[in-house]
Symmetry: C2
DNA sequence: CAGTGGTCTAGACCACAGT
DNA sequence: CTGTGGTCTAGACCACTGG
């Protein structure tokens, strides 16, 4: 049934409901229910009195993308340098954010991230070790989200907070900016289903990074 | 029909389809279609073999909200002081962002925004005068988004960019911070359908404002 | 005008929950 | 077992579009 839409160009007409009734020998309500599913998926568009058409792809609500994906999209080469990767006991803040108990084992992964060789941000990621046993031993992956994906834990949504601040001294050293230079701080709780799979705090050089996002959905 | 769901607690059962058939004297397909609409809206949840229930509110993909709505949600009183409201000719940047031609008439509206009486941000909004004729003459509304809504132009999605910076001298005067203090800059192109209805640049005091958003969708 | 989607009827059989 | 939603049939009338 989806084959009707498979490679069709946006705007091209789909077969009419009554034609599909004859072609498949089913009732029109049945045809309509099948097409309804494609309409809510955004693959088809009905226009009363005219017909049903292949919809132009709807603008997506901002998808959750990793640093690597984001930089690649900007045409930059993403690199990461691990500054720290170890097992820790969750402190009160991290425990609450990860929805674990204080003292539970978490993985703390700090990376300096570069784009085209230039220091861009420092990211502190915290992961629930229960969800990804053996993560540290298995060799650190390049992309955290890919690694989570391989375990069926790719985050699909997140709660983010963003604010402006100035760099602390040690942050400035890694980012190659003076202490007190403006930075963008980005905190994230990333979810797969209703499980928190990642909590992270990132600090970006304000002179090199502007966050882009699309909010809300078209229609 | 929605009254069936109006004040009901999440998880409470809705009347069964066959009961509604008897109550309203319509066919079951009709009842199902009406309920289907509520299901896709996320108000009802079907459980085969058990019944239909009032759904727990779905986590929303970040909705587009105005400053007023956002502050209200935080429990703060939003206030606005108009610093400037006039007709201008679009410069190159604003023209491109608003998808109009350079020199076309645009409305420029600058406001100092407060929360609980404290200076929070300065917002420069640009509107396409073609879309909202007589806007300046009709008395400035409190909420821009409400005013657009009344004209059927409530933005449903936007392209945002966010970065960190330091306050310029005149910004600092309005925001009551020294020049050079950290600020969050937020630019927005807001759309209703595929029409750009608002282009804005806001500058927030970093010490008072953290942006919160939810990105991606559950499921 | 003929063709389209939008809506509706009055039944039917199925798989599945709970008792 | 009964009741639920899931699916389906074979029609029907409507409002709208385009030629």
């Amino acid at each position: 049934m989806r084959t009707l839409v498979a490679g069709a160009a946006p705007g091209s007409p789909a077969p009419s409901e009554r034609e599909l009734v004859h072609r498949f020998g089913v009732a029109r309500m049945t045809v309509r229910q099948a097409m309804d599913a494609l309409v809510v998926e955004g693959l088809l568009e009905r226009i009363p009195g005219r017909g049903t058409f292949v919809a132009r792809p709807r603008r997506m609500t901002s998808r959750l993308s990793s640093y690597t994906e984001e930089m690649t999209r900007r045409g930059l080469l993403a690199e990461s340098q691990t500054l720290l990767a170890r097992r820790e006991q969750a402190g009160p803040g991290v425990a609450r954010a990860l929805s674990v108990s204080e003292g539970d084992a978490v993985i703390h992964w700090r990376r300096l991230r570069r784009a085209d060789g230039h220091a861009m941000c420092i990211e502190d990621a915290y992961l629930n070790e229960i969800l990804i046993p053996g993560f540290l031993q298995s060799g650190m992956p390049t992309s955290l989200y890919d690694a989570l994906d391989a375990r069926g834990l790719r985050p699909t949504w997140a709660e983010d907070s963003i604010n402006a601040d100035v760099a602390a001294a040690e942050e400035g050293e890694h980012l190659e900016i003076p202490a007190g230079a403006p930075v963008l701080r980005h905190s994230r709780r990333a979810f797969a289903g209703d499980k928190v799979v990642e909590v992270s705090r990132s600090v970006y050089r304000a002179d090199r990074y502007t966050m882009w996002l699309q909010v809300g959905a078209e229609d």
